[in-house]
């Protein structure tokens, strides 16, 4: 029987509940957002006892559906003040699903100064004292847990940034090699976990593909078909497996939409030095890997293993992170990018938010643009808990206020990712309107704007961008519920056979009779729930806007501004 593990951190009681019938067709983001909507008062303090942290594997996680091991983490975001779902790879989602756990709900807030861990096995769950792990970085915590409980465990943890309840703190878990680098990074959910004084959740289960499937034969046929669709698609079958996500660096640069020097320029002359091609070259030469799977059963294998000069390994360096610490800061050195990435993973910070924050500090003149060593030194302040470190760990909007900077790339308090909204206007619409705050994955219009996937919409013109973003936001909310990696969308957008194959898998697993129309319905329902939570939390259409400078400053080389009309932005959720 599918169940919810409810963990009351105030009373230190754990209990399993049967999954309510109304949640039976939900998973991943659909389930985290619905539970948050149903159980968390929208006006609550995100770091107070009324907020909850909800961790849910996707609907297909724990099966052998290809690339289906994604984990959703949800709650009220301390960074945005709105609802949040952050999505991670790693091995834990499949383990939870294999144990029949549809969601973990962390609630309450304990008194006192102790830190706690929770261990979950097939026999049940229990608290343990984790004071010995407090203050440690995530790599060490994960290594200790793997030593204590075996190398097969999944370790969900926070770093010192989460313990300090800093607003850009993420929740991480590990890949199969024990790298504590698979982050549900965005929106400060690590601070929510820290507020509950839970340092770590250890999932001790051998199972990876053991989630129950009602009709195994039908499932197998659909999964095989879907795997072939992914293998045959040029992006998911060739592009991602060859160079990973950071292969985007050069095409986004050539397209003139690579945010450079805190969003002043659209191209960076050293972009190639921090690109996927360079990464593959260096990683392989140092004995690392240009391609790597973040969870068992992924066919796209878009991660990498980058050995650093100090002997440690940063695995992976993703495009967003390479951008955040590279072009955004005018740093053209991959080893510096890797070091900044590693520190964030260890101290427990979202790399996108932290890159935006360092950009704001450079804008303020606190550290010089292009100065990698100064950026590393500043970032190391976070772990020390100094005033500067706490500012850096609190995100770009806070840093902008502290240092009097108005050029702050953030929407709803969340930093804008690696595509400038003035020359990739579809993504601009998504940044402005997503209930998540500025989030590139929420409606990845780079597809039709830049990559010629799922149609073509001119990235420099305002026309058609609201429709594009709307359709992508609906589709994404649904995909984020399945546990499938969002990158399957590259194939889904271009192959009409793909979505029916996904629906066939879900139907075979759960004994349902969903149609492809139901998938769109699910996406719409999730967005409505999330928007309604935000409305109750006090958000209005005034929050669905980009920062002023995107309207007033032209971005070279195309010299465009963000000119999608407000009424178009306000039409995105007309469904």
């Amino acid at each position: 029987m599918a169940k919810i593990l409810r963990i009351n951190t105030s009373t230190r009681q754990l209990k399993y509940e049967d999954l309510p019938e109304k949640y039976s067709a939900l998973g991943g983001r659909g389930l985290t957002s619905q539970i948050v909507f149903d159980e968390v008062p929208a006006t609550c303090d995100p770091l107070g006892p009324l907020n909850k942290l909800v961790i849910a594997p996707g609907l297909l996680s724990g099966t052998n559906a290809p690339s289906s091991g994604r984990l959703s983490v949800g709650g009220k975001s301390p960074l945005t003040g709105g609802i949040k779902e952050a999505n991670a790879g790693g091995i834990t989602s499949q383990k939870l699903a294999s144990l029949g756990i549809k969601a973990i709900v962390l609630e309450g807030r304990p008194e006192g100064s102790d830190w706690y861990g929770v261990k979950i096995t097939a026999d049940g769950a229990e608290f343990f004292n984790a004071n010995d792990l407090a203050g440690k970085g995530t790599y060490e915590v994960t290594a200790i847990c793997r030593e204590r409980y075996g190398t097969k465990v999944g370790v969900i943890t926070i770093g010192p940034a989460g313990e300090m309840q800093l607003l850009a703190a993420g929740v991480t878990n590990n890949d199969g090699d024990g790298n504590s680098s698979r982050y549900a990074g965005r929106g400060g959910l690590g601070a929510v976990m820290g507020s509950k004084r839970v340092k770590v959740i250890v999932v001790d289960s051998q199972g990876t593909f053991d989630a129950p499937v009602k009709d195994p034969e039908k499932f197998k046929a659909a999964a095989r078909k879907f795997a072939k669709i992914l293998a045959d698609n040029p992006t998911t079958g060739i592009g991602l497996p060859n160079y990973g996500t950071n292969v985007l660096m050069n095409i986004i640069n050539e397209a003139g939409t690579l945010p450079t020097r805190n969003f002043r320029l659209g191209r960076f002359d050293k972009a190639g030095e921090v690109s996927g091609e360079k990464l593959a070259e260096v990683a392989v030469a140092r004995g690392g890997k240009a391609t790597h799977a973040c969870h068992p059963g992924c066919v796209m294998r878009c991660s990498n293993v980058y050995p650093m000069p100090d002997g440690k390994v940063c695995a992976p360096i993703e495009y967003e992170t390479a951008w955040a610490f590279g072009p955004n800061l005018e740093i053209g050195d991959l080893d510096t990018v890797a070091r900044l990435n590693y520190i964030c993973n260890d101290v427990g910070l979202d790399t996108i938010e932290t890159g935006c924050t360092l950009g704001v500090l450079m804008e303020a003149g606190i550290i010089p643009f292009g100065d990698g060593q100064a950026a590393i030194a500043a970032l190391e302040e976070v772990g020390k808990g100094t005033a500067l470190g706490r500012v850096i760990g609190s995100g770009s909007a806070v840093a902008g206020k502290v240092y009097g900077v108005t050029r702050v790339p953030a929407v709803k308090g969340q930093g804008i990712p690696a595509y400038d909204p003035r020359s990739c206007k579809g993504n601009g619409v998504t940044y402005a309107t997503s209930p998540m705050g500025a989030d590139h994955t929420a409606g990845y219009a780079v597809t039709a704007n830049i990559l010629n996937v799922g149609g073509k919409v001119d990235p420099l013109l305002p026309d058609g961008q609201a429709d594009l973003s709307r359709n992508l936001q609906i589709a994404t909310a649904a995909v984020d519920s399945t546990g499938l990696c969002l990158f399957v969308a590259f194939a889904v957008l271009d192959n009409p056979e793909a979505l029916p194959a996904i629906v066939d898998m879900i139907n075979a697993q759960y004994g349902l009779a969903l149609t492809t129309d139901d998938v769109a319905g699910l996406g719409q329902q999730i967005l409505k729930v999330e928007r309604e939570f935000n409305r109750k939390a006090g958000f209005t259409s005034a929050d669905d806007r980009l920062p002023e400078f995107f309207h007033t400053e032209e971005l070279p080389p195309h010299n465009t501004r963000f000119d999608v009309k407000d009424e178009d932005l306000d039409s995105v959720f007309n469904f």
Partner: protein
């Protein structure tokens, strides 16, 4: 006419001496199209998924002009 050409994502391995992203000055006859430039560089058309000319999407049949910054990409994706 002279064109400034860049290739990425493994396409550089098809051109002797090329490396990804390093601009190549290529002499082409006036009237050369993006597809014609691929022929000149001996890059099979089916290896190329995206063509950007001065940062704007182009098709294989589009005419190039002197000084154009041309970039060729295989299938890429991510996020």
């Amino acid at each position: 006419m002279i064109l400034e050409v860049r290739v990425f994502g493994g396409l550089e391995k098809l051109i002797p001496g090329a490396s990804f992203g390093r601009p190549m000055q290529v002499e082409a006859a006036p009237g050369t199209t993006a597809g014609g430039l691929l022929d000149l560089l001996k890059i099979p058309e089916d290896k190329v998924f995206t063509i950007l000319v001065n940062g704007i999407h182009a098709e294989k049949g589009d005419l190039l002009k002197a000084g154009d910054r041309v970039a060729f990409f295989p299938p890429v994706g991510g996020g």
